[in-house]
Symmetry: C2
Subunit: 200 residues, 2 copies
DNA sequence: CCTCGGTCGTTAGTCTCCTGACTATCTGCC
DNA sequence: GGCAGATAGTCAGGAGACTAACGACCGAGG
């Protein structure tokens, strides 16, 4: 995931200049867009550097966290078992990817697979004691890094940031059916109108 | 890059509950962190779906944009040539990765390599007419999508968002030497103190 | 001249993740 | 009972990114 458009963000004046040649370009929108991608990437790297020291990749961590958070639920303390399909759903990757991730984690002794008697297609994945131990070792520092990163923001700023990001995020995901409906190459929805009304 | 921790963000109450068991966990920091990564990912997907229709990946697009933005500079109109090392620097990937990306782009006829007479180690990469044409075809929709995504935010909100993201981004990148200096497994800087003063 | 350190682009090998196709299994309808 | 369709997990192949190492080349020093 390391790599986002241009490394050093263009100055705003450059965006303004580019907008003259490209009427579709909304300079302030572009600025937000670039800042968002860039800061997400930067923040990700900070925690990824930590996880990498334990040979945990983003994907692996996602699986471990999914199992962990399901174990923290009201039920029993050690009953954390999810099917690969559940894991795929919660981590947002395909089932095929989960197979590979679980393979690696299983080889490392961090998770275990078990068969399901009732439905023989299904398998359940659960944290081993070693997997739990690793998480207990990793998470404190992981949490510390999140807190450290956000320490520049006061509570009010955090609330604002979450609210604004939420608006953008919803906008981005609501357009999920764009590839299936609108299709080939045109503007997904009424995007052209929105832009026109905004820039004109 | 699609995949970020847990797909559906935990509710704030869950974070509060988890914080009881893990004193290092700052709930509001974690919420910002998760929103940031998640929204960055979501936003990225929106533009990536568009680029993918033209068989342009994130990395390829980065190279094209670097060449394009260097061509838009004060100099001549068609003189857009950068060395692979320059491209690596601007897009934030290694020179080895650039070799692969340029290979693909060259095979597709979008860029061309040329030798440098003065320094025979160097080669210059430039957009072909076909590459320029593709960009002219792609960019309007690309810009429209950025504008559409941000259309939920008014100018004031955009300014605020850029400012807050800037603070986090700077924080994240200033810690760049963290792996080299602090090293193996401990807290990078005075992170523990920051957290303590924040949560206590 | 010519060697030495540094830089350039490339190659080789590895890793993660994705897409698409495949096999095994369950379920509902005849 | 037996077959169609959906579903679960896996396999195969590919793209992108990294590190480590290489051969080619420049520039400064003896």
């Amino acid at each position: 995931m390391p790599l986002l458009m241009l490394k050093d963000l263009p100055r705003y004046e450059c965006l303004l200049k580019a907008a003259q040649a490209h009427p579709e370009l909304d300079p302030s929108a572009a600025e937000v867009f670039l800042h968002l991608l860039r800061s997400g990437d930067e923040v990700f790297r900070v925690v990824d550097r930590h996880l990498a020291r334990h040979h945990i990749s983003e994907g692996r961590f996602g699986v471990l966290m999914a199992l962990w958070s399901s174990a923290e639920r009201p039920g029993g303390d050690g009953r954390q078992a999810l099917s690969p399909a559940e894991l795929a759903d919660r981590t947002g990757v395909t089932r095929a990817t989960i197979t590979g991730l679980v393979d690696t984690l299983e080889r490392a002794g961090l998770v275990a697979r078990a068969s399901n008697i009732e439905d023989r297609r299904m398998r359940s994945v659960s944290l081993t004691p070693r997997g739990s131990a690793l998480l207990r070792e990793i998470l404190p520092e992981h949490f510390r890094r999140m807190a450290w990163l956000m320490a520049t923001l006061d509570e009010q700023e955090r609330v604002t940031l979450v609210r604004l990001l939420g608006k953008v995020m919803q906008r981005a995901s609501e357009e999920g059916g764009e590839g299936a409906s609108g299709s080939s190459d045109a503007v997904p929805l009424g995007a052209a109108e929105v832009v026109a009304s905004h820039s004109g």
